[in-house]
């Protein structure tokens, strides 16, 4: 598994402990019952810490799924 996806998978497994489905690029908040607006806040804080990146609220709103989030992280890290 890609290292970035593994990190995100670890966060999702920790935060959404009732979700047992696969974590893939196409996964989104709609697929996980526990993933509400407050969980989204905590998820993003953990992602920023895990990857050492910071997003703006505008950037955050553009991510529709894990794959797009990983692309966003990749672009941040490449800068």
């Amino acid at each position: 598994m890609d290292d970035s996806l593994q990190k995100i998978t670890d966060i999702i497994r920790d935060l959404f402990d009732e979700y047992e489905g696969p974590v893939t690029s196409s996964l989104s908040a709609r697929d996980v019952e526990q993933w509400d607006s407050l969980a989204q806040v905590q998820f993003m804080v953990l992602v920023e810490k895990a990857f050492g990146v910071k997003f703006s609220s505008q950037e955050l709103n553009k991510f529709n799924n894990i794959g797009e989030l990983m692309e966003g992280i990749k672009k941040k890290l490449a800068k």
């Binding site: 407050l38 989204q40 806040v41 905590q42 993003m44 804080v45 920023e48 810490k49 910071k54 997003f55 703006s56 609220s57 950037e59 955050l60």
Partner: protein, 136 residues
């Protein structure tokens, strides 16, 4: 007001018998370590130990009035107790902003409670704040 990493707020307090009795009535926590001086001493302490919930009440004051302030909402707190705080001791709780996520609208803090040189407790906080109060 914009919150920034490194912002700090402090509050000094003394837990007295009145506060202990108030908290005991509100919480209905009758633990002997908080209520029975002879028992507390038999367990090796210098007297009854202040309720940790009273320290958290002072943390609540800092969060609600100072960092992030009146527009914040707490998401998470954690606390570790290191040394007992006794009745009548002067303590100071200090909260510091250690991380801000503009994207998530989150302010994270760490706090510690000191009684002189004695480290009584420490912990972390997480609050959400309206986006306009967080610098991108």
């Amino acid at each position: 007001m914009t919150v920034r990493i490194g912002d700090k707020a402090s509050r000094r307090f003394v837990v007295d018998d009145q506060a202990m009795e108030w908290f005991r009535q509100v919480s209905e926590d009758d633990s002997r370590i908080h209520c029975d001086d002879a028992y507390a001493r038999s367990r090796g302490f210098d007297g009854v130990i202040a309720y940790g919930g009273i320290m958290l009440a002072h943390l609540s004051h800092l969060l609600g009035n100072c960092i992030p302030g009146t527009n914040g909402t707490s998401l998470a707190w954690s606390i570790k107790y290191h040394k007992p705080l006794y009745i009548g001791e002067t303590a100071e709780i200090t909260l510091e902003v250690v991380n801000i996520s503009a994207a998530a609208g989150v302010v994270e803090g760490k706090f510690r409670v000191m009684a002189g040189a004695k480290r009584v407790a420490s912990g972390t906080t997480q609050s959400i704040l309206p986006p306009e109060e967080i610098e991108e």
